[in-house]
């Protein structure tokens, strides 16, 4: 036991001793401690340096509102977390933490010079000082400010933890398991409603954990609590979530809860997730978030050892730690007396209670007297002294007229302060519920709700245990509808709970020199707020941004109201007219991991594979991602470079036979009596006269007339089309079609079904393509006349059904073998086997791209960019001129769309045949034009053509169709390349190879 541990107090386990390390020193704590309580038990108050002035700071609270005691926690590589609040960091054996914001050491910190220079660093300092010279901003000011800004160091190693997420639905979600939340849960769950009760603490109980003496239903608080816990745990319809913070309240009762699963364990099994994000949709919500104590505003209120009175009480009653051996109290509220009394009874030596109120309750005064505590009512605190820990307070009487009398010094090693309590309305505010100002509480409370939500207890401005229990029970009953009857609780031993509000405490000293902090985390003082108002800021939102009050990671939990009240006073308006800053999610700082959930590594995104992918992998394919698919890019043989492999694949395909996995093509089955009419309206082409068994290249435009997608479409029967789309466009095209069908043409009797994954597609290209198919195909006459180019037949291959297309994306004799996907691999293997005499060569997407470019076939999204019309792409032939309408037709009639100077698709041949232009390179008219040269186009596709033994390129060039034969220039790093505009077809211009 250390000097500050009180035997027999608290919920810690005195037999479970834990070692932990803080700033390199080893300490002992107990199971059930937080880092803060364990440090205090060891007499350590000074735990960090403040953000701006580097002032020594201690532990100011016992909860999530902590603005001072922010530490870095190191749980091993990839597991470092800065800015963890020591007050909610559960102690485990071996915990390693460090203080922040100092150099070279916490005690001797060079940045502390900022504190001495504080008068030179007023609010808005950065805005005022670093305005000029302008060139200094990027190079000097910003880097320096960035280095000194921010608290804690950001981890650089990848997060080694795993995170989980989960959707959940319930009838009632209750946030906060203090008395009000428990009463709501006990009542709401009686009816069998699905209840989720979430609390950010490791155990339920809320304020009861710090108030063991009070009695509920004749039982000591902790006994009652255990019974309530057992009751709830025994109800199958209740989900009890501890260590779970409701971080945000979104539309339609959708709330995000972050549950900490393993951080409190010394060495969690690495396979278990660290945190889980619950995404809860609740029919009804009860918010019982409680209240947060306000600090008092006086010079030196941030010295280590100064803390909120309720925190002092929590450390004693919940953790068995007295925060000092000579404690002083300063208050404007009854509740601080409870801390003083409990500490005095625990032998902490409470010297003095300074009460700003002139007439505290007689009962409190009597009890103080009986405990030997001096009460200075109508006195104020005007300063604190002590290095790294408070040693003395300066107190003065204040007379009836507010005049501050002569000072007196009181020695102490801790100072508890209470400025009253602020209801936690954060989540209610997230849900856009209105906030009402309660003059009697000097606080905002929930007003008219915007969601199905009720608030109960201190978070609703309903203070006092009996009142909170009653309001919680009523809220719980109301969520269950008329069936619910509120449980009635009786309370004994409840203490008085009233107070007044003070802004800056009265002082006899110059208030403009006081370091009276409001926002402890961002180092904002009362005089900063007043300065901001003097400089013209009137709205609290502006004051906030100018002073940074409430802008730290604690979001002003302890500073908002003090900031507002002082600003209101300076402006000379009532607080509600000055307003309250907006609360935004998350309620407390949340790890990125919790948001990421499962979406990392293999689950970052789906990687789709075709049925033939395993063969490609086994045969050495190099893959590339194409939308969500992984596709074989090329198949290098041992020792081959990519260039060599692609060249070989191209040669083989042009000379004999190539085989290609085209399964990723999007496919849509369009079926119904109006199928042809639907196709007429969607695609530019005419479909009515396309005979069953024939195919046509289809071009799909947007309403704006620009090319969106393309693909070969086969007509299987009068009423059935097999539409193919680009790989990446599959989902988009289907969605577009459904959109038109459902919203524009609901009268058409036609239905769309995605068959992208029903069919594996094997493309065979090359002069020997037919020969390899002949022995394997049944029921289809492959003869060139019976089965011409751009035709489709149904039959069998290798004994399984096939839709066999005779199409070509290479310019060679080509077939696309569609088979039901699970047969894809076996048919592929059979074709490979059958193709051996022809040196059948598997090729990947790179060869496919190069071969199609030789033929001038476009790739939508590469040679088009959403601003290319069919005419621009040289495909006016694909437009059904006599059709009354199709998507995009009207836009094509706009004058601008017919401008001959539009960028048009052309071929480019470089002067030097070995030069392969960069895709995306800009094109200019001449090499000697003034810079910046007018750019007349850009390269869209560029390859080495193995067939031609030279480079080829496609490009979009202004008025390009009319400029064939002209010379243009392509500036690239290191050289200006000369090229000639040509036709887009480089190989077999007549298409002779297709018709064999």
């Amino acid at each position: 036991m250390t000097g500050y541990r009180v035997a027999g107090r608290g919920r810690v386990d005195p037999d479970a001793r834990l070692r932990f390390i803080f700033d390199g020193r080893s300490y002992e704590g107990l199971h059930g401690d937080t880092l803060a309580s364990a440090l205090l038990a060891n007499g350590v108050h000074f735990v960090g340096r403040s953000f701006k002035y580097h002032r020594p700071r201690g532990i100011m609270s016992a909860g999530v509102e902590e603005a001072n005691a922010l530490v870095g926690v190191d749980r091993g590589r990839g597991r470092y977390t800065p800015n963890t609040r020591a007050t909610v960091l559960e102690l485990y054996d071996g915990l390693t933490a460090e203080s922040q914001n100092y150099w070279p050491s916490l005690r001797y910190d060079i940045g502390a010079v900022n504190d001495i220079a504080a008068p030179l660093i007023p609010a808005g300092f950065y805005y005022k000082t670093f305005k000029w010279p302008a060139s200094f901003w990027n190079k000097v000011y910003e880097p320096v400010i960035r280095r000194s800004a921010g608290l804690g160091r950001a981890p650089t190693a990848p997060d080694a933890d795993r995170y989980a997420s989960r959707f959940a639905h319930c009838d009632v979600l209750i946030v906060g398991a203090g008395p009000a939340g428990l009463a709501a849960a006990l009542t709401a769950s009686e009816s069998g409603a699905r209840v989720i009760l979430a609390d950010e603490n490791p155990e339920i109980g809320g304020s009861l954990l710090s108030d063991p003496a009070v009695q509920i239903d004749g039982k000591d608080a902790w006994n009652w609590l255990e019974e309530a816990r057992a009751t709830l745990a025994g109800r199958a319809n209740v989900t009890l979530l501890t260590r779970t913070t409701a971080i945000g309240y979104y539309h339609q009762n959708f709330l995000g809860l972050v549950q900490r699963l393993t951080d409190h364990l010394p060495a969690a099994a690495s396979s278990l997730p660290r945190e889980r994000m619950w995404k809860v949709r609740a029919a009804q919500v009860v918010l019982a978030q409680g209240a947060i104590e306000r600090p008092l505003v006086f010079d030196g209120n941030d010295r280590p050892g100064v803390m909120l009175a309720g925190a002092g009480r929590s450390f004693l009653n919940r953790y068995g730690v007295k925060v000092g051996n000579r404690v002083a109290v300063v208050t404007v509220h009854d509740s601080a007396y409870l801390a003083a009394f409990d500490l005095a009874r625990a032998g902490a030596g409470v010297a003095t209670i300074v009460d700003l109120r002139r007439n505290p309750r007689a009962a409190l005064l009597a009890e103080a007297r009986s405990l030997g505590i001096e009460v200075l009512s109508g006195w104020t605190v005007t300063a604190t002294k002590g290095r790294a820990r408070i040693a003395e307070i300066r107190v003065n009487p204040v007379d009836q007229n507010g005049k501050v009398g002569a000072a007196r010094m009181i020695g102490c090693d801790a100072l508890l302060m209470s400025g009253g309590w602020t209801p936690s309305v954060h989540l209610f505010s997230h849900s856009k519920g209105a906030l009402d100002w309660r003059e009697d509480l000097q606080a905002f409370v929930p007003g008219a709700p915007n969601e199905a939500v009720r608030c109960a207890g201190a978070g609703n401005g309903t203070f006092g245990l009996a009142a909170a229990l009653a309001e919680g029970a009523a809220a719980g009953a109301a969520t269950a509808g008329s069936a619910g009857t509120p449980t009635v609780f009786s309370v004994d031993g409840e203490a008085p709970f009233s107070g007044v509000y003070f802004r800056e405490l009265p002082t006899d000293r110059d208030p403009t020199r006081a370091k009276a902090f409001i926002d402890f985390q961002n180092d904002v003082t009362a005089k900063d707020i007043r300065l901001a108002v003097r400089e013209g800021f009137r709205s609290i939102e502006h004051v906030k941004r100018y002073t940074t009050n409430g802008m730290a990671t604690d979001q002003g939990k302890t500073s908002n109201i003090n900031g507002l009240m002082i600003a209101a006073d300076a402006v000379g308006k009532p607080a509600p007219e000055v307003g309250l800053t907006t609360f935004r999610p998350p309620y407390t700082p949340t790890t990125f991991g919790a948001f990421v959930g499962y979406s990392r590594d293999a689950h970052f995104e789906v990687e789709r594979k075709t049925s033939i992918d395993s063969w490609a992998e086994a045969n050495g394919a190099v893959f590339e991602p194409v939308s969500l698919w992984r596709r074989a890019w090329y198949f290098p043989r041992s020792g081959e470079s990519m260039h060599e492999a692609v060249a070989r694949e191209c040669r083989a395909t042009r000379r004999s036979l190539g085989i290609f996995d085209a399964s990723t093509l999007g496919k849509i089955e369009v079926v119904g009596p109006d199928a042809a009419e639907f196709m007429n309206r969607m695609y530019t082409n005419a479909w009515t006269k396309l005979a069953p068994g024939r195919c046509r290249y289809g071009l799909l435009l947007g309403e704006d007339g620009f090319i969106r997608d393309d693909g070969v479409i086969g007509r299987l029967s009068d009423e059935r089309f097999h539409v193919t789309t680009t790989t990446g466009g599959a989902a988009r095209v289907l969605a577009t079609m459904e959109d038109y069908l459902q919203t524009e043409w609901p009268d058409l009797k036609v239905w769309l079904t995605s068959t992208s994954e029903q069919w594996a597609v094997i493309a065979l290209n090359g002069p020997n393509a037919r020969k390899v198919l002949e022995p394997l195909v049944q029921g289809i006459d492959l003869n060139g006349e019976a089965f011409p180019h751009m035709a489709v037949r149904e039959g069998k291959i290798c004994g399984v059904p096939t839709r066999l297309f005779r199409v070509s994306f290479t310019g060679e004799l080509g077939f696309e073998v569609n088979v039901p996907a699970r047969f894809g691999l076996s048919v592929w293997k059979a074709l490979i086997e059958q193709g051996r005499p022809y040196d059948i060569t598997p090729y990947g997407t790179e060869t496919m791209h190069a071969l199609r470019a030789e033929k001038g076939f476009i790739i939508v999204g590469q040679d088009t960019d959403g601003t290319v019309t069919p005419h621009d792409a040289g495909m006016s032939w694909a437009i059904g001129k006599t059709k009354p309408d199709f998507v995009g037709k009207r836009s094509l009639a706009r004058p601008d769309m017919q401008d001959p100077k539009r960028k048009q698709l052309v071929g480019l041949l470089t002067e030097k045949p070995e030069t392969v232009l960069e895709e995306g390179a800009q094109i200019v008219d001449g090499p000697y034009a003034a810079v910046p040269m007018p750019m007349i186009g850009h390269v869209t596709s560029s390859y080495h053509s193995e067939t031609l033994g030279r480079s080829i390129a496609l490009a979009l060039i202004q008025g390009g169709h009319g400029r064939k034969g002209e010379t243009v220039y392509v500036p690239m790093p290191g050289a200006m390349h000369k090229a000639t505009i040509t036709d887009t077809v480089f190989v077999d211009k007549e298409g002779a190879k297709l018709n064999v």
């Binding site: 959707f167 099994a269 997730p273 995404k279 079926v671 079904t753 996907a821 699970r822």
Partner: protein, 167 residues
Amino acid sequence: MLRLAMLPDCARFVLRIAPADMAAAGQVFGLALPEAIGAVAEADGRLALKLGPDEWRLHAAESDGAEIAARFAAELGTTPHSLVDISHREIGIEVSGTAALDVLTALCPLDLAARPVGSGTRTVFDRVEAVVLRQAENQFRLEVWQSFAPFLYSLLEIVGQEVEAGL
């Protein structure tokens, strides 16, 4: 307890037909089609799930697929409809055991617990579209496009581990 299994192949069709003609389609299929969206009819190895106002999902034994397609073409030829074979588009995953509901709910924004046995719907699990059928209190069948199945299957395994670890 969680049991995950890839289900044997079967014949699957998407049937689109006007509600007025559904009785005729049911006769051809050999099973009266359910009328309510989300309802499932099941008999003699055939299953029909209504997914939308004019949309049904039909399942049958793999060997019956060709015959079903032929019967629709022959007997319903003059009634506007669309029957499309998607047998190979999808893979069935069975998720069963006492943890099944928890595991599925973890990944699905729908309130699956509120869905009765003998119902089905199209929804998403994580980012994967799927049709889910609740076949018994603790037995679900997912129908997923084949290329998305490995992603979903491994995610179900991960969540299953968490649930089984008592987290």
